[in-house]
Amino acid sequence: MIAARTINFTLNGAPVTADVKPHHNVVELLQAQFGLTGARETCGQGLCGCCTVIVNGLAVSGCLYLASFIDGAEVVTVESLDAGGKLSPVQEAFIETSAFQCGFCTPGFVLMVTQLLDEHPDPSDDQIKHYLTGNLCRCATYPEVMQAVKLAAKKRKGA
């Protein structure tokens, strides 16, 4: 038996502690120990973006990230976006443009679009497409997602 180790990190702004085994990944950790299901393992291969979480300010695939590696890190999940009881501009934009159908891929898209707009506040179509190549939507809401990104960019500027 390989022993669990204790790690400390910040989860959505709050300091937390968890016991993890070396073979656990970040999605397993967030679901099993913190009840956070926004990031879900889907392809399990880094391709689809459903497991997106932000580690030290950078988007990563939680399915390909060992839980042990977030020791000491700042982790942000989709659950933080409406923490103040109010939806974020990106969340609002997804609703207003109906940029989802079943909604399974939406948490990942919303987090990635938030990152995209942090890096490129006024993105071109090309920038949007390149940034989101790693996010797949089985319901094919891609045109609406493009609209949502543009609307969110406007909202963020107005805010």
């Binding site: 390989i2 073979h23 973006g49 990563v60 695939s61 390909l64 060992l66």
Partner: protein, 288 residues
């Protein structure tokens, strides 16, 4: 994934001591993006992984000097993509990053992992080889320097000993050289390549002095196409010279069939894309 042990040494030398020259189930892990895929698929079942993530920070940065770049093996592809120094000294690398996997993978994957994995489908090996990169390898007996083209020995095989680590990559400045990388995908636009072609040339207008042509993905390993290089050296580019270079590479390449294409199909891709890559480099179009 099956359980394994994880060591997190604080230095490169400590990491080397933890590796075992005779045990392939003990392996270094950097970003983990390639290893996690293999572990999830069950094709790699480690006893112990030795994480390089806590070793000295000098191995995860980029230092530029007058003759080129020194890139620590633990530098992520995202950092390389966003580096102003890389854009200045080797813009072909910056352009290559845009279609290399996706943002999240680039934020985690390291250049050391991209090279040590020996995966012929990766985009950086051909580009760095064409630029004439060398790597610094550290093992129990000390340090050695190796031309990157001598690292790859076969399909997912390298000349690294099991207790050796890549510490740094040295990339000579592109300078006035003309360069291009073409990635050919036959599935989705951002799929792994069916073919990669990297070209770096010294040329005065259309007069080529010397050329390095590297083909990957279609082949068992990233390979310099010396016959194509010879067909270009000392020539002035025209349709005939381009055709000769494409034909030479297509004849010489050791091609592997897979889901992205058969041997004859990939041979034809090489013939066409070596031509296009040379022309793109000469025209200053770089990469796509």
């Amino acid at each position: 994934m099956i359980p394994f042990d994880l060591a997190e040494p604080k230095s490169l030398s400590e990491a080397i001591k933890l590796l075992d020259p005779d045990d392939a189930t003990v392996r270094p892990i950097a970003g983990g993006t390639a290893l996690m895929l293999m572990m999830k698929a069950g094709v790699f079942r480690p006893q112990k992984l030795v994480s390089l993530r806590k070793i000295e920070s000098k191995y995860s940065g980029i230092v530029a000097s007058h003759d080129g770049l020194r890139i620590g093996a633990m530098t992520t592809l995202g950092v390389i993509e966003r580096s102003a120094e890389v854009r200045k000294h080797a813009p072909v690398i910056t352009r290559t990053m845009i279609t290399l996997s996706n943002v999240r993978v680039r934020n985690v994957a390291t250049v050391g992992g991209a090279l040590a994995h020996g995966d012929p489908h990766m985009d950086l090996p051909p580009v760095l080889m064409a630029l004439g990169a060398t790597i610094t390898i550290v093992g129990p007996k000390g340090e050695r320097s190796l031309a990157l083209e001598d690292l790859f020995s076969g399909y997912y095989e390298t000349t690294l000993e099991k207790n050796e680590l890549i510490a740094e990559v040295h990339v000579p400045s592109q300078g006035p050289k003309k360069a291009a990388y073409m990635k050919v995908t036959t599935g989705s636009a951002d799929d792994w390549p069916a073919l990669g072609v990297a070209v770096v040339m010294e040329a005065d207008g259309k007069a080529i002095k010397s050329a390095r042509v590297v083909v990957s993905a279609a082949t068992t390993k990233a390979t310099r196409m010396k016959s194509a290089e010879a067909a270009l050296a000392g020539k002035t580019v025209d349709d005939k010279v381009l055709a000769q270079a494409g034909d030479a590479a297509a004849e010489d390449a050791e091609i592997l069939a897979d889901v992205r294409g058969s041997v004859p199909y990939k041979r034809e891709l090489i013939r066409v894309y070596v031509r296009r890559a040379v022309r793109a480099a000469i025209d200053g179009q770089g990469a796509h």
